[in-house]
Symmetry: C2
Subunit: 350 residues, 2 copies
Amino acid sequence: MPTVALDGRGAERGPETIVAGARGAAADGIRLRVFGDPATLAAVEQIDGAELVPAVEEITNAEEPVAAVRSRPRASVVLAAQDVAEGRSQAMASAGSTGATMTAALFALRRLHGVRRPALALQLLVPGRPGPPALLLDVGANADARAHDLVQFAYLGAAFSEAVLGVAQPRVALLSVGEEANKGSAEVVEAHARLARAEGLDFRGNLEGQDLLAGAAEVIVTDGFTGNVVLKTIEGTAKTVAEAVRAAARSGPVAAAGGLLLRPSLGGLRRQLDPDTTGGAILLGLRGVAVVGHGSSGPEGIANAVRLAARTVDQSAVERTAKLLERAGMTRGGLRGESPRAGMRDRKEL
Amino acid sequence: MPTVALDGRGAERGPETIVAGARGAAADGIRLRVFGDPATLAAVEQIDGAELVPAVEEITNAEEPVAAVRSRPRASVVLAAQDVAEGRSQAMASAGSTGATMTAALFALRRLHGVRRPALALQLLVPGRPGPPALLLDVGANADARAHDLVQFAYLGAAFSEAVLGVAQPRVALLSVGEEANKGSAEVVEAHARLARAEGLDFRGNLEGQDLLAGAAEVIVTDGFTGNVVLKTIEGTAKTVAEAVRAAARSGPVAAAGGLLLRPSLGGLRRQLDPDTTGGAILLGLRGVAVVGHGSSGPEGIANAVRLAARTVDQSAVERTAKLLERAGMTRGGLRGESPRAGMRDRKEL
């Protein structure tokens, strides 16, 4: 079982959530190193297989990630990333600032050969649909993406889907505004053309917003701006509709009785709409494993973030991704003429 | 009461839907000129205030809009647009190909002085929330948008919201991936900076996906790629969640009884999720009025598309938009160095 470096700071629901989450993951046999405030995380020491590593500094959501990560080497998230880079842990997970987690991971773990921009990938759980969830990427690592990046995201997502989510031959789709190859922004149209002739990918063409949750593809590729907006739109819409149903059930005694009778059957729907279920997003394209948990994670969300990190290590996802990129010729030329930090240019826009 | 030129072809649910929709709108006193096949639309002649104008050609969804509109001057949607340009009607509406409708309108009605790219705007109805719906634009007229375009969309949306939706001082927000001014793609960050100092707009900053339906702004600005994806994502998610609730109500006898009791109270939710309720999107930035109905419109959707077109004329929305653009200085410089057809460059990407 791998060791996961868990950021013990930054979770919106406080250190108790971290402790409870660590306990849940440790019960599965995962070893943990938890970085944070010894005063509030003392209970970690009581967990079998978990170790507390003091980290006196914290990076908050409000801070500019690159500047904060650079200037605060003893921040919990930076120490967690460093722990993976130095081999004491095999993966990191944080429910703190998304920007700081991505930046710390990128600095410490570095990009795979040929990867221009790492991408943040998230599993989309579909209410009422069993089977493997679709993987949407990028959901926010890069605010701007070129056609070349979108093609690379397709490989990163396919490798992860196969290695960690257990999909034999993941179908890949490109998010756009119509099914036809010529629909979309200039970069999307160009990405479509390249994906259509890409080797080693089961590319199924464009996919529109209404089909995101329809199960037509296991990997859905988009730029980080659209992906982030779409992800939050799904969350917001699901919440709004669920609230409208609840409001209807409060609108009178007959409806209220109906709501009470229906309630137990809606448990599965509630669970599928709960971000805790997936454990968070994963940053793909690095030489190590970094999971970005939902800021509002409960104990189950923290435990699932650690489990996702451990499973990604167990399945050798990084090595398999590197091999797929090499077979696809993505390690040649992609970085020609670029500085090794090209991927950081937009970091401030996160 | 204005006369509306209604495209009698292209509606997915057939000419009967057009006839029934025309009857509904005519009952409100709106005069109609319906363009289409005399054989299937003969019943239009029986409607008080409606006139049938034969149009032998049709443009389908599958066709490339610019080529089709150019080569088929006798297509119903082209004749309807021409009817407005020549003053026999004051507005047009179509539930046929969105691309063809936009192209025909753009060619015949032309852009307002200073407008680089017209934008397609749609009212977002929020389940369970009374009050004016938010206007989202662009939902698909332009696949790529520059910062300048986004600022212009803000003025176009604000003018329409005030004139037609009756919002006294519409709050304007920019769709992005975070609240901070520096979050988003390069064009969005630049648009934010310009909107923050724009005159005559109540700009409230960035708005994220989860807040699209939260009622924080009456005008939400984005590029046509993101807007189109987001719009379809809202539709798809609402449908998926509603289906999951229905499935729960079929999961056993107790749940089924609950569903039956709750059902009557869910009527409002169903109505708010039905695209027929708003009548469709409106193309803003032209010297005339063009409404793009939902392809799957029922009779009420067609009638509401015609009503929206008539109301837009009644409220002098075009004139008020032109004045707002002039006050904002948007009629100066915006077109400098551009060909008059600049807005058509991306038309093929629709």
